[in-house]
């Protein structure tokens, strides 16, 4: 489904700010895999998602999605195949536009935009039904500006927008990190429901190790731009947070796990 082969990325090469973010990442996903990704700050988690999405070009390696070589495709073309939800709730929606207008733009992902009306009556009805499923009452506020919504509502909306056209791959970068714990739980279980219902292939970065174990069928740990641990199936289900902490210490050569991972 997704083949990431020997991907390297160095930011600001040749300067004092040089940073090797990815050091030969290899990752193969099967169809309907739901992978959770953990790792310390700066491990390269966001970078690998950005490489898949085409936000920056990669230095070396290749990325094949469902048989299509997307390594050199510009960001907006890859978006035809990808659904994305960002950490920052502001980043996934247009705040000055209506909820239904945001959905209408998302509904046209992967399609050619022309001079027909930006949103049709049939679409409004469809969006009404889809919003109902979120259970946030947004279906009654379809003409409200997205800027008026709370962070959690925006993330739920972004999630719906990302999956309105079924993506080949859903990319979630700590999409609940900016939310309060209760809202984060709701958005997370909603995420899980959508992924199960639509049988999506997904990669989800999280700093919460419990969530990383609880959700998905596979878990990978990244460290210094590499995948250092990859576990799936029964073995993954039976993981404990302490196992992950041990793995992390092992990977980082006995150093203490950083604060964020300890707390999680």
């Amino acid at each position: 489904m997704l083949n990431i082969n020997e991907v390297y990325k160095t930011f600001n090469p040749g300067t004092i700010n040089e940073k090797k973010a990815l050091n030969g990442v290899n990752l193969n996903l099967n169809s309907e895999d739901f992978v959770t990704v953990i790792g310390g700050n700066g491990a390269g988690k966001s970078t690998i998602l950005n490489m898949i999405a085409g936000v920056y070009p990669i230095d070396r390696g290749s990325i094949i999605l469902d048989g299509i070589d997307i390594t050199y495709l510009p960001e907006h073309k890859r978006a035809h195949y990808l659904g994305r939800v960002f950490q920052d709730p502001m980043k996934g929606t247009a705040s000055n536009m209506e909820i239904q207008e945001n959905l209408a733009i998302a509904y046209r992902r992967g399609k050619k935009r022309g001079l027909s009306w930006g949103i049709t009556k049939a679409e409004k009805e469809k969006f009404h039904e889809e919003l109902k499923v979120l259970g946030l009452g947004l279906e009654d506020r379809m003409t409200s500006k997205v800027g008026l919504l709370s962070g959690g509502q925006r993330q739920a909306l972004t999630l719906l927008m990302a999956t309105l056209q079924k993506p080949k791959l859903l990319l979630l970068d700590e999409h609940t990190a900016a939310l309060d714990p209760k809202t984060a739980r709701n958005v997370l279980s909603l995420t899980n429901e959508i992924i199960q219902a639509d049988k999506l292939t997904a990669i989800m970065i999280t700093h919460n190790m419990k969530d990383a174990i609880k959700y998905g069928n596979r878990l990978i740990m990244m460290h210094e731009g590499r995948v250092v641990y990859d576990v799936a199936g029964e073995e993954k289900k039976n993981l404990q947070v302490s196992d992950l902490l041990a793995k992390f210490e092992q990977a980082s050569g006995g150093e203490f796990a950083n604060d964020r991972m300890m707390l999680a």
Binding site: H76, K77, A79, T93, N96, I105, W117, G118
Partner: protein
């Protein structure tokens, strides 16, 4: 009394001019507000529209109305160059516009072969309408201004209807979203460079159309006629926002801009009547814009959200 009469007369002319400048303000609104692209091209594209139109009438004997189409195309091309400099050459938005504007100064003189072109004694969009009107109404006071006002209203209506339609289409929505959140638009599969290109082309087409109409109605095109276009456009937008601060829908926002453009001209005519030197106008305009931009911020404590919504890009509540 004579002061009042001359003021009224001046207001008439000012209203007529204001409507024609309103088309320019709508163009500036597309680039500055909808696309959130600080586009300085308009100082040049406004003149370009006027030059192209004037030269085609005077030197090529074209129908004044047909020259408007060429002016629109020329304005669109100048917007495309700015978009190219920004998208492909990765030059910052402001500088891209300044480069095109600077280049247009030379081009405009090339187009005219000199620094200005007069339209006296030739047909213009205004004279053609005057000619077909019956003798009986030709004598009414301010006849020419009335013709310009009616003609301007027709153009403004067409442009407003076009904008209302266009920004409700799939592409139009994507352009509005680009001005609001480019990351989102790319993540949803649209090329933001393409959207910026389209927005700049359309915005500058309208600015050039306005330049052509202004040149024809004032009877000359001059290479200096575009100085401060951006500021006048912004002044119109912010005056409109201040007087119609409740205008939340796209339609009313467009109307507020047109009103702003007229009010701006009337204020200018008024202060000129009061004895201000014409050369001090730019200073006054800059002050008007600075004050008008400050007022919403000062009222901000109570109406913060309202002000910020109207200050940012993607600023268009097209509702269908």
């Amino acid at each position: 009394m004579s002061f009042l009469i001359s003021l009224l007369w001046a207001t008439h002319a000012a209203t007529a001019q204001g409507i024609l400048f309103g088309v320019m303000a709508l163009g500036v609104y597309i680039t500055f507000r909808v696309l959130d692209f600080p586009d300085m091209t308009c100082d040049g594209s406004f003149v370009l529209g006027g030059c192209v139109s004037a030269v085609l009438i005077v030197k090529a004997g074209w129908n004044p109305y047909v020259t408007l189409i060429v002016a629109v195309l020329a304005g669109g091309a100048s917007g495309a160059i700015t978009a190219f400099l920004h998208n492909k050459c990765k030059i910052p938005a402001i500088l891209s516009g300044i480069l095109t504007m600077t280049a247009l100064y030379s081009i405009n003189i090339r187009v005219m072969g000199q620094a200005n072109t007069t339209l006296l004694g030739v047909d213009t969009v205004v004279s053609m309408v005057k000619d077909i009107l019956p003798e009986s109404i030709q004598g009414i006071a301010n006849f020419t201004n009335w013709v310009v006002i009616v003609l301007g209203c027709i153009f403004v209506t067409l442009v407003t209807m076009f904008m209302y339609w266009f920004f409700g289409t799939e592409i139009g929505c994507a352009i509005r979203a680009t001005g609001n959140n480019g990351d989102m638009v790319r993540a949803l599969g649209e090329d933001t460079d393409k959207m910026k290109m389209l927005g700049l082309v359309i915005g500058n087409s309208l600015v050039a159309l306005s330049g052509a109409l202004v040149a024809q109605s004032q009877g000359y095109a001059d290479v200096g006629m575009g100085v401060g276009t951006i500021v006048i456009g912004l002044a119109s937008i912010v005056i409109g926002e201040v007087i119609m601060s409740r205008a939340r829908t796209f339609k009313f926002r467009l109307i507020s801009i047109l009103l702003g453009a007229v009010i701006y001209r009337v204020i200018i005519a008024w202060v000129l009547q009061m004895g201000l030197k014409a050369t001090d106008l730019k200073l006054l305009t800059a002050l008007v814009v600075a004050i008008a931009l400050t007022i919403p911020k000062m009222l901000g404590a109570t109406a913060a959200s309202k002000a910020t919504i109207s200050m940012k890009g993607g600023d268009s509540n097209a509702k269908h």
